[in-house]
Structure formats: structure tokens, C-alpha cells
Amino acid sequence: MSIQLIRQAFNGNRPPQRMWHSHELKEQYDVVIIGGGAHGLACAYYLAKEHGITDVAVLEKSYIGAGGSGRNTAIVRSNYLTPEGVRFYDESVKIYEQLSDELNFNVMFSQRGHLTLAHTDGGVNTMRRRAEVNQIEGVDSRLIFPDEIKNLCPYLDVSDHPRYPILAALYHPPGGIIRHDAVVWGYAHQADVRGVHIHQNTEVTGIKVKRGKVTGVETTRGHIKTGTVLNATAGWASTITSMVGINLPLTTIPLQACVTEPLKPFLDVVVVSGSLHVYISQTDRGELVMGASVDPFSSYSMAGSLTFLEGIAGHVLELFPSLSHVRILRQWAGICEMPPDYSPIMGFTPVDGFLIDVGWGTYGFKASPIAGKTLAELIATGKTPTLIAPFRLSRFEENELVGEKGAAAVGH
């Protein structure tokens, strides 16, 4: 029981502690971070905590966590395909494991185990390939078969019906789900406490560049002079980057999800199916959160479609036939910027002082802590940490695409 709670309980009249404060927009900041999601706020936090850089502004056009951070699958895992991908995401899992303590805010990281199902021989081979790479990189992940799958997830139909038989699954015990909003609020609080200015309802309308170097940012609340701008806007990455005259290898596509009414707990692991393009987990409040792969066509619209609901319902019942009476309460959509090789694009760009933290597709939230940490180090030291070297923008020109593309099906 935290002291804060006890104090609040006994003297009701003392006003509760404010988590982040609103400030006037200063004329000048050392660093301006565009995007008040988990990535932007984490970077601000690590700049302040690990590098003593506190003259930082985080600009969010709406409320913090309004973009991808508030709409994602809430899944955390590190069982990726390539060694560089596994190393990167495993660092994130390690930070998540102690983040509640570090931020003094319970982010409810529930490491309950993550199953990726395989329905064809090809699927089983891809899972085995990932299991082997994971084990070599020291990540707990192995191939399991229907009998073990059944006792981890009794409601899953492991019979051999013709269309989508479950042949095997990649079992990743440290994977799980997290209260994604709590990560945003935790980082925001700890950044605010260290002097970072979080500006909500402040939209960036232009970026000033002189002789190839960033000099300032135009916003709906006035102009800011700065030499360093980080673009952490995920789905809107291309629209911000076009302000400095650069194109990115990204296509923005909606990713939809939905939630059911609360049910007594019966699903204790996260279940993902590549070929059925579906993921499903049960929150601590008892709701099932479900989603699929990205939409069939690119768009910035977050309206959501009926086609998604029909598709996800059919595929979830294919895996869990006893859920036909469970009711959907709400559907929503976020937007994901998809790169050609399903890997992030981080670090320097041809415009000096304009840095990017983009290309996060459907796998961005789970990387928030490590992305924030490494980009803070990059800003503070001017050098690209080795961990994120493979994700440089120049890789496309150098024909050094990351191998995650080999896993073909978009993982969650």
C-alpha cells in the first residue's frame, strides 16, 4: 500500500498530488519532442533522468496517449525473428519488468505467457525458426504442441478441424499484456517532476530549417526556437517529416480492435494467430481485447469498419468456439505507419537536428521504454547506440533491410 494512498485516505481535504502540470509555451527549448505518446514521454524522461537534459518540450496535438499509445494491442513480447529484433525488444521487456518500481506507478505488466499459433507446416517452421533465434539470444521461447497448448489455454479448440488446425505454437512465457495508458501516465509524471514541459492541445504546424539545419518549430500556440526536434508521432510520421522536405518508406494503415463485456477470468495467456490475423487477451477487469492485422487499404481515418468486426468474430470463434454468446461492447481504430521490412526507423535524417522515432507498424508500444532510452542517448551523445544501429533510415539506400520481413505475416 503506497504511502501516497494512505496519506490521501486519512486527510481527504489535502488536494491529491497533480501528476503533470500545464505550462506556458517557452520561446526556446533545447529539445522539442513532437508526439505525447509513450515513446515521446519516455524519451523526455530518460533525457532528464540519465542525461540531465531537462529543458525539453513534449508537444501533443490532443491529450497525452491519444494516438497509438491509447489504441494498441497492449501486448509486450520479444520473440521476434531476427537477432537484432530480439535483442532490441528484450531490452524493452527487461525495462518493463521493473518499470512500476522506477516510475512509482503500477503499469500492471502481466507476464502471463504469449502463444503464437501455427496452422500449416510452413507456419510451424517459421515458429521453430523464431524459437531457435530466441533461445540463442537468451529469450525464453519454445515450440509447443496441442497437448501442452490445451492445458495452457483450455478454451482453445485444438481439434483437427480442416480449415485452421492448430499444429503447434510458439510459447513465450515472459510475453504478456500491460496497462498501456499507465505507461504513458507514469512516464509523463516522472518527466514532469524533473522539469520537462508537457504541452497538450499543442499541434505542430511547421518546422523551420535553414541551410539543412533545424532552427525552430511552428505550433498552434506560437513559435519555438530549437536546434533538436524528435518526430515521435507514429501514424502521422510522414506528415511531420514532410515539413522538413523528406519522404519516408512508410504507408499509414488503420489497425482496428474491439473489447467485450467483462467476464470471469478464463483466458490466462495472450493468443495470437498469424494466418488468421487475430490476437486476443483478457484484461484484469475481465474484458476480452481483440484485434486483427492492418486494414486492407491505407488511410488516416480512425473510424473503424463493420468488415473488421465480422472478420474478427469469425476467426475468434474458429479458435474459441464457446464464445458465441460473448458480446462486443466497443470497437476503435488506431493508425500504424508500415515500413517495407516491418522494423522501426530510428535516429538521424539528412536534415541536421531533425531526428525520427518512426516505422513502428503494429509493434510500436512494446518498444516504448527502450526506444525512449536509446533515442535519449542519441540526442545527448550525438552517436547512434549499437542496439538501434540496424534501424537507421539510410539502410534502405544501403540495401540492408532488416530480416523481420522474412517472417512475412505481421506479428503482434
Binding site: N125, R128, V133, D284, G286, L306, L309, S322, N399
Partner: protein, 977 residues
């Protein structure tokens, strides 16, 4: 165990029969609630039957497990959620009773009436809003234990693992105008739209049309007078109008782009394309916030009227009505006329502000009226025993000194309405806060979308009807039927008197619930905002207010007012949260509908099943994996002859003079000199140089080519070629998909020629029909195309026959081969045979990163061609050298078969393993009696035949050696026999 006898003799709340009730009193049916048997009449809902039997507590609240009873009685609040059989979270107030129904309370322990989990309220001081973010932080190790207890206290209904899948289906509907909501406004809009000749669909979520007219009493000189006698006329007019189709018991769940609507009725989902929409969905009555406002016995005015008039059930004998509008007086008059003891009418307004036509009648009847008063607290622990009220001073502040308690068993609140306008906002409608009415009303909607009736803030029935008639004809005019009525194109409900309470909540010590689903109190809202979660969206995510089963129907208005007050913003500045489908919860079964998962089978599918084939899934196809013993099947091909059904192979016909140039551009090898009758293998890449597909292409006659692709790639390659043809390279070329027109069987093995010769007159000698040639021939009387190609590495003929003759030709081949002990073989045997020849499978040995130069197909890449898809990228790879190569390997220990997907590693100084490649294919070769395979390796190792490397297998390193070329018949002599 209360028997059926008890239920009847206790104070039954059933009124004597009334006009307009929906129950059939002549019949009695039985059901159980938590094991106790109750009776009901057909037409009763679970809630009305239980209320008739005096049951008040129906559920326990989500967080504090407080007792909860009926509140809205219209399926919008969470208070009556029950489990019925294997169906969780059923709204008892809208679910008709069926004989033998087993109803159970949810999330209670040990029982509904004695739920020990309600003890959590004792610690509620330590459980403010967002408490779980502030607790269980350290030690991290204990979080899983805390989480376990939290999870098992959460959740409402249960999912039974044996619940059957159920029968569901869907129907598309196409119409000109959709009217959502069958109240007076909806019906009037439907009639005026239909009169113009437009086709109209009218959706009503209740079992009958009429809306609030079904349960508001037709007393003279009341706002409903004019309408009361209209309802029968309206219903009769609807029956007579052929252009209107009515759907009752049907909820419209969502509006999607381009007027695409979704509705659900029982087990059927409707998907509706309409051209215009009239939203006449009425409004939710807004609950009032005061101490213990969630106590069973506190109900909304409309809920009491539904119970009384539809089901003849009286939820209480002594009632206090708390109101700020005329609707409260309607309810009072209604109940008083039924002989109910109206203990008091507590009206927030000054006497002068009250214009209710029943005022005089009620005061003359001695009903005590407390003007300028409001309620402070509902008294009682498990049900209402009384109400504490107090005076409001000039500024609307409460003077606690004037508090007094009134004895009653029912508190009815009529404190205003929240328009149910979600559909209009999904469609792009904008809302605006009307200061004088204290209501958020739609102010603009996109063309073709109209909002009428209570959803637009119009409560007077005659204005509802006239406004709706105009909207109906405008909706039809928008589609092209009749003229626009410009008088007031858009209704504004502002002419109506104010119906909403001026204050949001009252100072009080006990719990005052803003959100019933999530047990969020007014204090929680203030605390959350003070902590910084001030925007309406942050407040919602942090406090989880409006995220429960009612999705904001009961709490959105109060939340917005509290949020505005705590932030010192105007209501308009505070804004609303996004309206999202579904408007009412919908089951996964209804959304999935009839199971339609396309499956493709070959014409001789039945033959395979009859001969013991083990089938496998390949894309949409089902194919024989093997017939019992794949190794034996492979050996029969090597030694004698075998037959495999390869019908799923993609087969494309290209005709026209422009084909050679196209083939040059899409394949990586040379194509412009392929003579008629010849077949060539080709590899297709995209412009990144990644291998898309491979297969053969035959030159059938001077202007016809016949191309095959992998089965999983058939559709993608067909679309890929169509794009190039239609975006500039299609001059003089036609493309036709013949995948299903021809079935294809591969007769392979040294005896294949002898077998085939028994069925055709064509000369099959090597000179007449050499390797890599195409011939047409009659096989068993059927004209077929024969391709002499060899994926298996043996002498073989691919017989392409018209699909109608498939079984005839297949059986003829099997009969002809019987004397040579011919065996059918499946995909598994084919994989062994092709691997023995080191033939790659696109998609298994290659992935979305592999180029042909790295994938051991350099021989098929002619970089001297002027241009072809992928050439620039392949030029670069060729210049820089591939980073990895696909190459064959053998194991040092011959009978150790490494699983496909294992990694090839080098151990570094520090003992760490470095990944340098991986195994794509591996089998035990029955022909060579040793393990063989294909893998990716760094070029320096791959280029040296016999070079050794290690594979990480079950925790140890197994040694293997590079093997160049085919493992079996490297020179391909057997192919050319």
C-alpha cells in the same frame, strides 16, 4: 426453497389487467432465479416477472458489490445483468421469459443476498479512483499474486467451455431511406418518406412500434393527448403502406462509411446499404446523483411507466417523485390514478415554473408537493426505506438545516434526458450545448442524415410528429423522391421547456454514483481531475467511467457536467467522448454469422478420401499429404512409377503477339526465342529482386502460351500480371486463368512412359517427345496436354486434362499402372523427391527477402537482358555479392534429420553462439538412406563443397557438410531417359 405457492401469496405486485399490456395472463410459465422457482406470463421479461414477485435485488455492482435493482428497465443500464444458462451478461429487463429458464446472479459469493465481496466497501477509503495504479507497486515479485486476486474479483458473467457454437446468419438489405427508432417521430418520418414512393426500412429495438406512447397514459390535456389517439392511427397507416418494411426487436448497431448500417435481430445480422438515414432513437432518461442513488428501489420515471403499462407490475406502494420537469408530474398522475400512495412530489423548481396540467388534480387529491426542494439521500441498506429531502435556496444551494425524511419504498427521478444520438455522431453529426436547456443537442448533420424526436431534444409529441414528417420527406427528396421542404430543414428542440436539473450533485458523505457500471463516484471524478486527468478522454481512461456495459448511456451527461465544473470549463469546451459502434452490445456469434470459410478441392477429392489419403491445408486447397507411407511412395516413384494430383497448380493462358516481350520483362531468364512445343523453367521477381514465384511456361502454338505457377501463388501472380498488362505492358496480350479448367496429374518414375503408352497412340519415344517439351495427345480417349518436366527428378509426364474428365483419366492411369504396382503419392513424398534433386520451393526455401542470385538460381538470371523486373536490384546484389547463399547439405551422422527452422551457428570466443544461417528444408532420403537438406549459409562456407558447419539441435551442436548440386542423379540423366 420458496415454492411457487409462496410467490403468489406474497404481496404480488401484479396490477389488474390494463389496456396496452404485452403479457398473456391466461398462461403461466415457470423459471428459476438462483435456484428459487418463480412464475411469469408469456410476454413478461425476466425483470418484470421478478419484480411482480417482489424481488428487488437483481445483481451486485462491479467494484463494491453493492446490491443493485431495476433503474432504466430499457436495456441500457448494467443493474439487471444476469447469467441465463450459458449466456453471460443478459439484460433481464429486455429478455422475455422462456419456460424452464435458469437465471443466475453474476459475480457474487456466496449468494446474491449475502455477497461477502461487498465487504470491500469497508476498505473503500483506500480504494479511490485509480487506486490500482498507486498500489501493489512493490515488491514487483508479489504483483502476480495481487493480480490473481484482482482478476478473480473482476468480471461479471461466465463463459461455459461447452457452450455450443449456435446457429447465426446474415442478410444484406438495400433501400432508399432507413428510419432508426419506431416511436411517434420514427413512424411519422417513415410514412412521409414512403408516401413519395421511396423504399423505407423502419427499425425498432423493442418488440412493438410506438416508442414512449406504449407506456405513457392518454390522460386528457397532457402533452401526450394529441398523440395518444394518434398511435393506433399511425400503426394502422404503417400497415397500409407497402413501401415500409418494419423490423421490430432489431437494434441498429452502427453507421459506417457511405450509409452502411448494421443491425441485429436475435441470431440474424442485417447489413444495410441505404441512401439516407433518419435517426429517431429517442433519449435515455438521465439519472440523478445523490447519496446512495444506486439503492434498489431508486428508478427512472420512464422505467416505472414501462413496468406499470407494459407488464402490469407495480414496483412499489409508496413513492416519492423527484423531478425538475413536467415528466415527473406525468408519472405522479399516472401512479396516483392507479391507487399508489404518492408520498411526495419534490420539484426543484419554483412553483411558478411548473406548468404541469396535472398540478391542480394532484394537489387537490392531497399529494404533498415540496417546491424548490431536492433529494439528499436514499435511505435503506438493501432497498429503499425512505428519502431525505431538503430545500434549495435562491442560488440553488442546499440548506441542510431544512433536511427531512419521508417514508417510501420507491424513489422515482425524472431529471432530464440524454439524446441517444450516437448514430448521427458516427455519421459526422456535430453537437452543441444549449445553456438554457442544459442539454447537448445535435446542431448539424451531413447531407442525407436527419435527427428527429427526443434524439433532437423535441419532447412534445405533436412537434415530434410534424418535425419527423418534414425530415422523412427531406430524406426521400435527398434520394430523389419528391421535393425538399425547406421550412426548417433542421429541427431545433430549443423551443421546448427546460427538463434538466440545474445542479449536478449534492454535498453528501455517502457514495454518490456517477457511473453505475464501474462504481465511479462524484468524488472519484473530482480526484481524477485534480490529479491531472482533466480532459474528458483522460478522465474516461483513468476512472474507466462510461467504459462499462452501458457505454455512457446513463453517465455521459453527468460526467461532462462534473468535468466542466471541476475544470471551470463550459460544457461546450469540455466536449464529449467519441461515439463508436456498437450502440448496444452484440454477440460474436451474430457478427460471425453462418460459417463461410472457402475450401477448394480437386475434382478427384472423393477418390483421395476413398483411398485413405491424409489431407493437408495448402492455402484454400485441401490436398493429399500422403496415403499412409510417404517414404514408400517416394521409393515407388524412384523404382517404378507413381501418380500425384497436382491440380492446384496455377495455370495461366497468355495469347497474342505481345507475349514474348512480356515474358522477357517478367522472368529473369531469356524468353524471346522459345519455339512452339517447348517448355522452359522461369523465375519471377519483383523490382526489389525478391523471388515471387517460379514455374514453367510452354509455347503451345504461335500465339498461345501456357504458364504454370505454384498453387499458393496462383491468384497473386494472376493479379500481378494483370497489373503490368493494364498499366502499360499489355499491348497485344490477353491473359486467362485456366487453373480450374485443367486438372493436372504428374505420372513419374522409370515406368511412366510404358504406362502412358498403354493409353495413347502418340509416339512417346525420347526423340519424338524429349525432355522439356509440350505435346497434345489423347489419353484414354481424352485430349490432354502433356508436359515432360521433372520436379521429382524421374522420367515424368504432367498430364493436363479437362477437369470434367479428371476421374476418368486418373483411374485410367492407375489401371494402366497396376501391373507396375503404381502408387498414388502425396505432397510429402513429392517434397522428399524434389529435395533429393535439390529443387527449391518458393516460399519454403525462400522468404520475402530472398533474391534468385542468393537462392542458388543464378543460372536462371540473365543480367545482360535489356530490362526485366528486379534487374537493377539484382545488378547491385551481383556487384556487391550475396550476403547469404542457399545450398544443399548432408549431415555427418547420416540418420540425424535436423528440423526445418533450426539455426546454423558459430560459437564465439565468449561461448555465445552467433547465428550465420538456418535450415529451410530437411528430410531423411529413403533413396540415399541419409539425411539431406537445404540451408542458408554465409558465402565463404556455402561456396566450398564439403565445408563443415554446425547446427544447434536440442541444446548441442550437430555437424553438417555443404553439398553442391543434386543429391541424386546430379546430371539429370533419368529425366532424359
Amino acid at each position: 426453497m420458496r415454492t411457487e405457492q409462496d410467490a403468489l401469496t406474497t404481496t404480488s405486485n401484479r396490477l389488474h389487467p390494463k389496456q396496452g399490456e404485452v403479457i398473456d395472463r391466461s398462461t403461466t410459465i415457470r423459471f428459476t432465479f438462483d435456484g428459487v422457482e418463480y412464475t411469469a406470463h408469456p410476454g413478461d421479461t425476466v425483470a418484470s416477472a421478478l419484480t411482480a414477485a417482489g424481488v428487488k435485488v437483481l445483481s451486485r455492482s462491479f467494484k463494491y458489490h453493492r446490491p443493485r435493482g431495476l433503474l432504466c428497465c430499457s436495456g441500457h443500464c448494467p443493474n439487471c445483468l444476469v447469467q441465463i444458462g450459458d449466456e453471460p451478461n443478459v439484460r433481464a429487463c429486455t429478455r422475455p421469459v422462456e419456460p424452464g429458464m435458469e437465471v443466475r446472479a453474476q459475480n457474487v459469493w456466496p449468494s446474491l443476498n449475502r455477497d461477502l465481496l461487498s465487504l470491500t466497501q469497508l476498505g473503500s477509503r483506500f480504494m479511490p479512483v485509480g487506486f490500482y495504479y498507486k498500489t501493489f507497486i512493490r515488491p514487483q515479485k508479489l504483483w502476480p499474486l495481487y493480480e490473481h486476486t484482482l482478476r478473480h474479483a473482476a468480471g461479471l458473467g461466465e463463459v461455459d467451455i461447452d457452450t455450443p457454437l449456435g446457429e447465426f446468419d446474415k442478410q444484406y438489405l438495400h433501400t432508399d431511406v432507413v428510419i432508426v427508432g419506431g416511436g411517434p417521430a420514427g413512424i411519422s418520418a417513415a410514412l412521409s418518406a414512403a408516401e413519395t414512393g421511396a423504399q423505407v426500412l423502419l427499425f425498432e429495438e423493442n418488440p412493438a412500434l410506438g416508442g414512449h406512447l406504449r407506456f405513457t397514459v392518454p390522460l386528457e390535456s397532457s402533452s401526450t393527448t394529441k398523440a395518444s389517439k394518434d398511435l393506433p392511427e399511425l400503426l394502422e397507416a404503417v400497415d397500409r403502406q407497402p413501401n415500409i418494411t418494419v423490423f421490430t426487436d432489431t437494434s441498429v448497431l452502427g453507421w459506417y462509411q457511405d450509409n452502411w448500417l448494421c443491425a441485429v435481430k436475435g441470431a440474424r445480422l442485417f447489413k444495410i446499404r441505404t441512401k439516407s438515414v433518419v435517426v429517431a432513437t429517442g433519449a435515455y432518461e438521465t439519472p440523478l446523483i445523490f447519496d446512495n442513488n444506486d439503492l434498489p428501489g431508486v428508478m427512472l420515471g420512464s422505467a416505472v411507466q414501462r413496468l406499470v403499462h407494459l407488464f402490469g407490475v407495480l414496483p412499489g406502494g409508496q413513492v416519492v417523485i423527484v423531478t425538475a420537469n413536467e415528466d415527473g408530474w406525468d408519472v405522479a398522475a399516472d401512479l396516483q390514478s392507479l391507487g399508489v400512495n404518492v408520498a411526495a412530489i419534490v420539484d426543484e423548481r419554483e412553483p411558478s415554473a411548473c406548468a404541469s396540467p396535472y398540478r391542480e388534480g394532484l394537489t387537490n387529491a392531497g399529494v404533498p408537493v415540496f417546491y424548490r426542494h431536492t433529494i439528499l439521500e436514499a435511505l435503506g441498506s438493501n432497498e429503499v426505506r425512505g428519502a431525505k429531502i431538503a430545500r434549495l435556496d435562491g442560488q440553488g444551494e442546499i440548506s441542510l438545516a431544512t433536511a427531512q425524511s419521508l417514508q417510501c419504498d420507491l424513489i422515482v427521478t425524472s431529471m432530464g434526458w440524454t439524446p441517444a444520438t450516437e448514430l448521427a455522431y458516427m455519421a459526422g453529426g456535430k453537437s452543441e450545448y444549449h445553456e438554457d436547456r442544459a442539454e447537448i443537442l445535435p446542431v448539424s448533420t451531413p447531407p442525407g442524415i436527419y435527427v428527429v424526436g427526443r434524439a433532437a431534444g423535441t419532447h412534445a409529441v405533436n412537434s415530434q410528429i410534424s418535425e419527423a414528417q418534414r425530415a422523412g420527406s427531406n430524406a426521400a427528396a435527398f434520394v430523389g423522391f419528391g421535393e425538399f421542404d425547406e421550412s426548417t430543414a433542421y429541427s431545433s428542440g430549443v423551443l421546448e421547456p427546460r427538463r434538466t436539473s440545474e445542479r449536478v450533485c449534492v454535498p453528501g458523505k455517502k457514495k454518490q454514483f456517477v457511473c453505475y457500471c464501474e462504481d465511479v463516484t462524484d468524488e472519484d471524478v473530482e480526484t481524477a481531475i485534480a490529479e491531472g486527468y482533466d480532459s474528458i478522454e483522460l478522465l474516461k481512461r483513468y476512472s474507466t467511467i462510461s467504459m462499462g456495459p452501458c457505454q455512457g448511456a446513463m453517465c455521459s451527461m453527468n460526467t461532462i457536467h462534473l468535468c466542466a465544473r471541476a475544470n471551470d470549463w463550459t460544457v461546450q469546451e469540455t466536449g464529449t467522448t467519441t461515439a463508436r459502434p456498437p450502440t448496444t452490445p452484440v454477440t460474436l456469434g451474430a457478427l460471425a454469422g453462418q460459417n463461410m470459410e472457402p475450401v477448394q478441392t480437386t475434382p478427384i477429392h472423393q477418390w483421395h478420401l476413398d483411398h485413405g489419403a491424409d489431407m493437408m491445408v495448402a492455402g484454400l486447397w485441401l490436398r493429399p499429404n500422403h496415403y499412409g507411407d510417404p517414404a514408400a511412395e517416394a521409393t515407388s516413384v524412384r523404382e517404378r512409377v507413381g501418380l500425384i494430383d497436382v491440380s492446384p497448380l496455377g495455370k495461366l493462358q497468355l495469347t497474342g503477339p505481345g507475349v514474348p516481350e512480356l515474358l522477357e520483362r517478367i522472368y529473369t531468364n531469356q524468353w524471346d526465342n522459345l519455339r512452339v512445343g517447348r517448355v522452359r523453367y522461369g523465375v519471377m521477381c519483383n523490382d526489389e529482386g525478391v523471388v515471387l514465384n517460379d514455374g514453367v511456361c510452354a509455347h503451345v502454338n504461335d500465339e498461345t502460351w501456357y504458364m504454370t505457377t505454384t498453387s499458393t501463388g496462383a491468384t497473386t501472380i494472376f493479379e500481378w500480371l494483370q497489373w503490368w498488362l493494364q498499366s502499360g505492358w499489355g499491348e497485344g496480350i490477353h491473359l486467362t486463368d485456366l487453373t480450374d479448367t485443367y486438372s493436372a496429374f504428374n505420372l513419374a518414375g522409370p515406368q511412366s512412359r510404358t504406362v502412358l503408352e498403354k493409353l495413347t497412340e502418340r509416339n512417346l519415344a525420347n526423340k519424338a517427345f524429349p525432355y522439356m517439351r509440350l505435346r497434345s495427345a489423347k489419353i484414354a480417349g481424352v485430349s490432354c496436354r502433356l508436359l515432360r518436366i521433372g520436379f521429382t527428378g524421374e522420367l515424368s509426364y504432367e498430364v493436363h486434362c479437362p477437369s470434367g474428365y479428371a476421374l476418368h483419366v486418373w483411374e485410367a492411369l492407375m489401371d494402366a499402372g497396376r501391373e507396375f504396382d503404381i502408387a498414388p503419392f502425396g505432397v510429402e513424398a513429392q517434397r522428399i523427391l524434389r529435395l533429393e534433386k535439390a529443387h527449391i520451393i518458393v516460399g519454403q526455401d525462400t522468404d520475402a527477402m530472398s533474391d534468385p542470385l542468393s537462392a542458388n538460381m543464378a543460372w536462371a538470371v540473365k543480367l545482360d537482358k535489356p530490362d526485366f523486373l528486379g534487374k537493377p536490384s539484382l545488378m547491385r546484389i551481383s556487384a556487391e555479392g550475396p550476403k547469404q547463399l542457399l545450398v544443399g547439405f548432408k549431415m555427418v551422422e547420416p540418420n540425424v534429420v535436423p528440423d526445418e527452422g533450426l539455426q546454423i551457428v558459430e560459437s564465439e570466443a565468449d561461448g555465445q553462439l552467433k547465428i550465420v544461417g538456418w535450415i529451410t528444408s530437411s528430410r531423411f532420403s529413403p533413396t540415399l538412406e541419409e539425411a539431406i537438406g537445404l540451408c542458408w549459409l554465409p558465402p565463404d562456407i556455402a561456396s566450398q563443397n564439403g565445408a563443415s558447419f554446425t547446427i544447434r539441435m536440442d541444446g548441442h551442436l550437430a555437424e553438417a557438410r555443404v553439398h553442391h548440386g543434386a543429391f541424386y542423379d546430379p546430371d539429370g540423366e533419368r529425366l532424359r531417359m
